[in-house]
Symmetry: C2
Subunit: 168 residues, 2 copies
Amino acid sequence: MLEYIILGFLMFGEKTGYDIKQTMKKSTSNFFDASFGSIYPTLTKLEKKNYVVINEVLEDSRKKTLYSISEAGKNIFLAWLQQPIEFSKTHSIYLVKIYFYSFISKEKAIDLIKDFIRDVNKAIGELTEIEEKSKGKLDLYRSSTIYFGIEHYNSVIKWCEELISNLK
Amino acid sequence: MLEYIILGFLMFGEKTGYDIKQTMKKSTSNFFDASFGSIYPTLTKLEKKNYVVINEVLEDSRKKTLYSISEAGKNIFLAWLQQPIEFSKTHSIYLVKIYFYSFISKEKAIDLIKDFIRDVNKAIGELTEIEEKSKGKLDLYRSSTIYFGIEHYNSVIKWCEELISNLK
DNA sequence: TAGCGCATGTAATATGTTACATGATTTC
DNA sequence: GAAATCATGTAACATATTACATGCGCTA
């Protein structure tokens, strides 16, 4: 999976491993993120498969390893992209915990859910900031996914609040 | 994670590994699921830690390995449950793909999104069936998570439709 | 008697995170 | 001169999936 996503980011232009991590943080992190510990080994793997090409440069007196996508890389990326969207059920650990809340007191449950709402609101704030900054810079698809994140988190909060009011 | 979730299911009563899988399918699979290949080894691990107790029985001339939660198991489960809900960003692979749709034609993108909507609708149908069957049988928390799934999928469809209409 | 559901389990494989390790450059 | 950011990478560890392997009991 990560292989394709990295290729996707390289479709927008050559990048270092560090750049990829930054781009993820500022764009897909609300629905997909990866660590350096997976990005660098994946880039090495992609290079061995000849899907990316390495270009060592000295930029601003700082040496960088720039990766760019090869023709073969573009081909397999586009083939993947045109395959049906796999409908994978979203792994939401927060729901799992709430699922079992009948085993704790109502008051404790409400407190925990309220704390959670605070965290979700924080995430909305971060995403809104990203949305503001990227205004006009992104294509419809990319800006829609950010918008989706905000909408989704809002619906999570709404659901939490309804749950609390039903509990009372 | 799975360790706690299995303990949670055992809080409702003793179960076999197979039972746990079935229960997940009929309750949490829209936001959390596990395979036999992870359930059985986890049960063994929990037994070694003395968090569950094994009870080999012969039920309907069929031998079963029933697991029940121990006092120690209840304690660590409840301790986990009362800790703050970790706000983990949801991993949604479908969004990743759509994020890169600027690299395919608008027509192709619309077709793929429409196919996806069909799959999501199918999932809503399955969840609605589960909701119908469990009506009145579940506590507020558990029924809320099912309701959440339906609401969430509906919002995914709404978002997809808006995206399509914006594309046109 | 074939196939399905019940029931348990292992091995190979995939996939990724966290922590560690290093070192340069830039900003305060 | 300290701290933050840029930049790359490895090793230990965690976690889970898929495929395989096995076998019983029920039903069409």
